[in-house]
């Protein structure tokens, strides 16, 4: 795919993910959560395959279980009492349901962040920061460069120090920590002493003499503008409806059972379309690309 969602401008992508993730996190509404979970899971499978999905599951399951377990033990709101805890506090259905919703929220956000991590490569992060603070953006870029350099050096230092360690003193725990500190401090010294070259090279190329610009390889295309306008329109609609109270849902003292009315269905639909927009783009582009390629 030449023009899939992953090739869109970082601002478009940021706006999309920011909208979806904040709606998911701030409107803690069961239907919204379910929609978000469905779209997020689909996205994870779409980009990372089944193994990617299992990865997110491995991350979310323990936390989710913890939330589901802890909540009814410490939160005693709600009127449907199922039983009593050893300390005399009530164990309520509402707190169980809220725990499940909270766990759901956690796994939703993690699924979306998985997608974010796939799409927001370092240069996109740097681009976004470059809009706000060019110096921070440069700093990130420098840190990434240094990081990969240091990682390689760490391997070298480890190998070099390994043969110098006397046999028989390897197993001792204090010795191992000391040796670790030694390796790290050798690494640190190498990094700091040699970074003077980096500073010289920056100065030599005129850093700090003039107001800097941030060059980027990203261009805003018409499709980006269309996308941004659409997302913003949905955002405004959902936000307005939310402030009006259409997506209000209460878990305590008793969880609502009425999920559907005219306003809420409007919000659900809007959020559903919003969540699935990358898919719509990708599927349409795949079709387009297929027909173009058959013409080559």
């Amino acid at each position: 795919m030449k023009n899939g969602f992953n090739t869109y401008h970082p601002i478009s992508q940021f706006l999309f993910f920011a909208s979806v993730i904040s709606f998911t996190m701030f409107i803690m509404h069961p239907i919204i959560l379910l929609i978000s979970l469905a779209a997020g899971s689909l996205y994870v499978v779409f980009t990372g395959g089944i193994s990617g999905y299992l990865n997110t599951l491995r991350l979310t399951l323990p936390t989710s279980l913890m939330i589901i377990l802890i909540n009814p033990l410490v939160s005693h709101g709600g009127i449907t009492i199922l039983s009593y805890l050893p300390d005399g506090n009530p164990f309520t259905l509402e707190s169980v349901i809220f725990g499940i919703a909270a766990a759901l929220l956690m796994s939703c956000t993690l699924k979306w962040f998985y997608a974010v991590n796939g799409i927001f490569t370092s240069d996109r992060v740097i681009y976004l920061f470059g809009r706000l603070s060019p110096r921070t953006a440069l700093l990130i870029s420098m840190i990434l460069r240094f990081f990969s350099k240091f990682k390689a050096q760490l391997r070298i230092v480890r190998a070099a120090q390994q043969t110098l360690v006397r046999e028989g003193s390897k197993g001792n725990m204090i010795r191992r920590i000391k040796n670790g500190v030694k390796i790290f401090s050798s690494m640190l010294q190498w990094a700091m002493e040699n970074s003077i070259d980096t500073a010289d090279s920056m100065n030599s190329r005129g850093y700090g003499l003039h107001k800097r610009t941030s060059y980027s390889v990203f261009k805003i295309k018409p499709s980006d503008i269309l996308f941004i306008i659409t997302v913003l329109a949905f955002d405004i609609y959902i936000l307005a409806a939310y402030i009006y109270g259409a997506a209000e849902y209460s878990y305590y003292p008793m969880f609502d059972i009425s999920f559907f009315d005219l306003y809420t269905v409007g919000i659900y639909t809007a959020f559903l379309i919003l969540c699935f927009m990358p898919f719509i783009i990708d599927v349409r582009e795949a079709g387009k690309w297929k027909s173009i390629r058959s013409g080559i």
């Binding site: 909270a102 956690m106 190998a159 190498w190």
Partner: protein, 878 residues
């Protein structure tokens, strides 16, 4: 037109006895290709750095450098940045950003050019250098040669009128060096750019230079055409003479009468053919002592297969090698073929998946990495050598004797007080070898021991290695330097296809090769038989050779390898310390530990949910007790010295006060307008408000490039310590390093380092809703450390560092991050809830706290010392 004119330039480094440059006069015309050569330490790099103001080292200067007719220090810095391009030695350290396109654009961004212009210029540059296929790559994916070409391209993109290069090819392998030089020649010939290059390996650049300037001891001793320079060097008996390209050298020694000196192999062959026409050639019998096959090899590799990952290709495939006592084996071969891997397998760092390495249990094997700096850990050469002996059962005097012997053998006995990083490349290499020798090695595995060294250091190292082999050690060395191998090795082998091929003595090896062989062999092929070194050619031509390879102090070597003498009288006794305060400390520690265990419910003390609070208070009190008893005990404990960084303005108060104003307002708005229901929203807002001032100040304040680089380095090290460095699971030194950074670089930088570390490591791991929380928390830890230690509020002793480390990991990091999980899932932050989440996360926090404390206890002092040295070196402190 005269581009540069240097008039009566002298220069001396601060506190140096002798001047580094003495009365230099030099002029360079437009379009010229000038090479400055000389042994390392002759002042050639110092001279180059005088040509651009921003690169001038501190020191005392007299005389003037004119650039385009104007003194260079009166030329606008911006104009200098554009017109004077400067490429340095190391391919790795010059690049600033992580992506190739960004690196190319970096200089243009500094000039404030717009996106469109930068795009056009990078496209043009990429096409000129033929690097358009790498533009999207990360710089760390490039090879050393490619990195250096990128460094050249990112300087050329500024469109300089003069290009200055400080040993640009000394770190490259022969093929990459050739490619780099051909691009350089292209730039000089096609664009007319003036080129000033300094090198001590003359082979590549000599023949394409218009002028050769030879320096020695801070003076220019010769300034002439390449043809004349050879004769001048010969007459003045300069050591640089033996660094000349082989054809030039042989011609000058043998003939120096018929026409101009040949500068490359082609003209050298022409000359040699006509020179030998009517001469009778001397034949030498290259008698080879083959190894006795019955002798047991010291190291044997049998059918070794190795790959790094299950799915990656084989690096070694069925490699066999037998290495015997007393010999030096050279492994040659292409770049990235796996020669270093071979050494690592021989050293036992990696295990082959088929086959094995057989080394006798009692033998000591050591590895010299390509860059000797990887071996240095201490702040002076003496301490660094001593460090190797630290767990040896030998008295101090005996150890000192060993250090003295080793440093004498390696010719570094005058340098023992110096910092290892203040030594030249050759001295560092010799120091590294000295360090290895202290372990009395039987097998030495050397990775490119003479890379980037001048001819003098090469000879010295060759002599040491020869002596070592003669004394019974076995040396396996990987090298690209064919002349060095031809001269010193006993056997050579070509590494190709994961195997060693054609292993034989240097004469057979290099005379059987036609392309991959020494310059002397290429020059004399079909004309002389079996001549592989310049000396061989000269011998055949009837010249006497005075030089000796053998040497080295064998007596000294025997002493070094002799077993350590136990010396009873010399036992050191520790002075008895006062024991009241250490006792108090121990008690506080015990109480601290007990209370921690109680909090964890591991200790079944009289129970009670509410009583836990008492335990918590006890925990804090005992922590305070540790600090107080430590304070009192300070007489014995040294304080770690930290100098304050000079800032043009301090904004700490500004950011603090803005935080103090905005946070209450946010909470107020949250309570009254959002009815306190959206904790998540409010907490995110508060964190944002806390972080913004720091980033705003960072963006606006004037910052010296070196400080910025140091911040980036510390961040990268913290990220590394989170991502790749742990001794045990969850036992990572990241928090400790953030604390050290805050203490050494100040509160604001501490905040920045803490929060950027979390942001960037999450780019590498995974971003999540936790990113802002982690950024905030680590930032606060760095900030507090800067406030407490940077301003000297708390004593900077090891113990108070580690107590602070423990508390900040358990209370700040745990105290914010554990409840954060709750707030992120919209669970109401009641006291009970917070306690439940905190306790659930407490075991992890405890491991985190202990690891931070341990790391700080051991590491704070040495690491801060290193940081302080760099701060001083960078000129960040008065």
């Amino acid at each position: 037109m005269e581009i540069y004119s240097v008039r009566d330039l002298s220069f001396s480094y601060p506190a140096a006895k002798e001047k580094a440059l003495k009365n230099i006069n030099l002029s360079v015309n437009e379009g010229e290709f000038v090479m400055i050569c000389g042994l390392s330490g002759c002042g050639k790099s110092t001279l180059l750095r005088q040509l651009k103001t921003s690169l001038r080292p501190h020191g005392e200067i007299s005389g003037t450098v004119y650039f385009c007719g104007k003194p260079v220090d009166e030329t606008e810095l911006l104009e200098q940045a554009i017109k004077i391009g400067f490429v340095m030695q190391s391919p790795d350290h010059q690049s600033v950003t992580d992506k190739v396109w960004h690196e190319l654009a970096f200089g243009l961004e500094n000039l404030g050019l717009d996106n469109k212009t930068i795009r056009r210029r990078t496209a043009e540059m990429a096409a000129f250098f033929g690097i358009d296929s790498w533009l999207e790559k990360s710089i760390d994916e490039l090879s050393g040669g490619q990195k250096q070409i990128l460094n050249l391209a990112s300087v050329m993109i500024m469109q300089p009128s003069v290009l200055i290069l400080d040993e640009p090819i000394s770190q490259l392998d022969p093929i990459a060096a050739n490619e780099f030089v051909s691009i350089l020649r292209h730039i000089s010939k096609e664009l007319g750019t003036t080129v000033i290059i300094c090198e001590h390996t003359l082979d590549y650049v000599y023949s394409i230079s218009d002028r050769i300037v030879v320096m020695s001891d801070g003076r220019i001793i010769s300034d002439s055409s390449p043809e004349e320079a050879a004769a001048k060097l010969f007459l003045s008996d300069e050591p640089m003479f033996s660094a000349l390209p082989v054809p030039t050298r042989v011609y000058t020694l043998a003939d120096h009468s018929s026409g101009a000196a040949p500068l490359d192999i082609g003209s050298g062959r022409k000359w040699l053919r006509s020179f030998v026409r009517d001469k009778e050639l001397h034949r030498r019998n290259y008698a080879i002592s083959e190894h006795d096959k019955t002798e047991k090899p010291l190291l044997e590799m049998k059918n070794v297969w190795f790959r790094y990952n299950r799915s990656s290709p084989d690096v070694l495939s069925g490699l066999d090698l037998k290495a015997y006592r007393g010999e030096m084996i050279s492994v040659l071969g292409g770049n990235g073929a796996g020669k270093t891997t071979l050494l690592h397998i021989a050293a036992g760092i990696y295990k082959p998946y088929i086959g094995k390495t057989v080394i006798d249990q009692n033998l000591k094997t050591v590895l010299l990495p390509q860059n000797p700096q990887a071996l240095f850990v201490k702040d002076s050469l003496h301490d660094d050598l001593y460090d190797i002996l630290s767990d040896l059962q030998a008295p101090v005097r005996e150890r000192e004797r060993m250090i003295k012997n080793v440093s004498k053998l390696c010719g570094i006995d005058g340098l023992l007080d110096r910092h290892p990083y203040d030594l030249s490349g050759g001295e560092q290499q010799k120091a590294a070898i000295a360090k290895l020798l202290l372990t009395k090695p039987d097998i030495l595995l050397l990775d490119e021991p003479v890379k980037g060294l001048d001819i003098k250091s090469k000879t010295e190292i060759g002599t040491i290695l020869k002596a070592l082999a003669a004394n019974g050690a076995c040396i396996i060395m990987v090298s690209h330097d064919m002349d060095f191998c031809a001269e010193y090795a006993d056997r050579c082998a070509l590494f190709f296809g994961g195997e060693l091929n054609g292993i034989s003595n240097p004469h057979t090896f290099f005379s059987e090769n036609v392309f991959y062989t020494t310059a002397a062999r290429r020059m004399s092929k079909d004309i002389l038989e079996e001549a592989v070194t310049a000396d061989d050619i000269l011998y055949a031509l009837g010249m006497s050779i005075s030089k000796k390879n053998q040497g080295g102090d064998t007596e000294l070597l025997k002493k070094i390898y002799a077993p350590a003498q136990p010396d009873e009288k010399d036992k050191k006794k520790d002075k008895k310390p006062g024991y009241i305060f250490p006792f108090m400390k121990a008690v506080s520690f015990a109480v601290f530990l007990l209370s921690v265990l109680h909090v964890l419910n591991i200790l079944p003390l009289p129970d009670g949910g509410e009583h836990k609070i008492i335990t918590y208070i006890l925990m804090l009190l005992s922590a305070a007790g540790i600090i107080i008893s430590d304070l009192a005990d300070r007489k014995k404990q040294k304080n770690i010295r930290i100098a304050k960084i000079k800032h043009s303005h301090t904004h700490t108060l500004l950011s603090l006060s803005s935080i103090l104003i905005t946070i209450p307002i946010t909470i107020f708005i949250g309570i009254y307008f959002l009815k306190d229901a959206k904790y998540l929203f409010i907490s995110l807002l508060i964190m944002l408000e806390c972080m913004l001032p720091f980033f705003a100040v960072f963006e606006k304040r004037r910052i010296r490039t070196r400080e910025l680089v140091l911040i980036a380095v510390m961040c990268a090290l913290c990220v590394l310590s989170r991502a790749a460095f742990y001794m045990f699971p969850q036992f990572k030194p990241m928090t400790a390093l953030v604390i050290i950074s805050g203490a050494a670089l100040g509160a604001e930088s501490g905040f920045l380092i803490g929060s950027m570390t979390m942001l960037v490591s999450n780019i590498i791991f995974a971003q999540g809703p936790w990113t802002p929380w982690q950024m905030f928390t680590m930032g606060i830890i760095g900030f507090l450390s800067g406030m407490i230690f940077g301003r000297g509020i708390a004593p900077r002793s090891r113990l108070s560092f580690s107590v602070f480390g423990f508390l900040s990991a358990v209370m700040i990091y745990g105290g914010i991050m554990d409840p954060a999980a709750m707030i992120m899932s919209h669970i109401e932050p009641t006291a009970e809830n917070i306690a439940a989440y905190y306790i659930a996360g407490f075991p992890m926090d405890l491991v985190h706290g202990i690891s931070t404390a341990v790391f700080l206890y051991i590491g704070a002092d040495p690491i801060i010392k290193k940081l302080e040295r760099v701060k001083l070196k960078y000129g960040l402190i008065q």
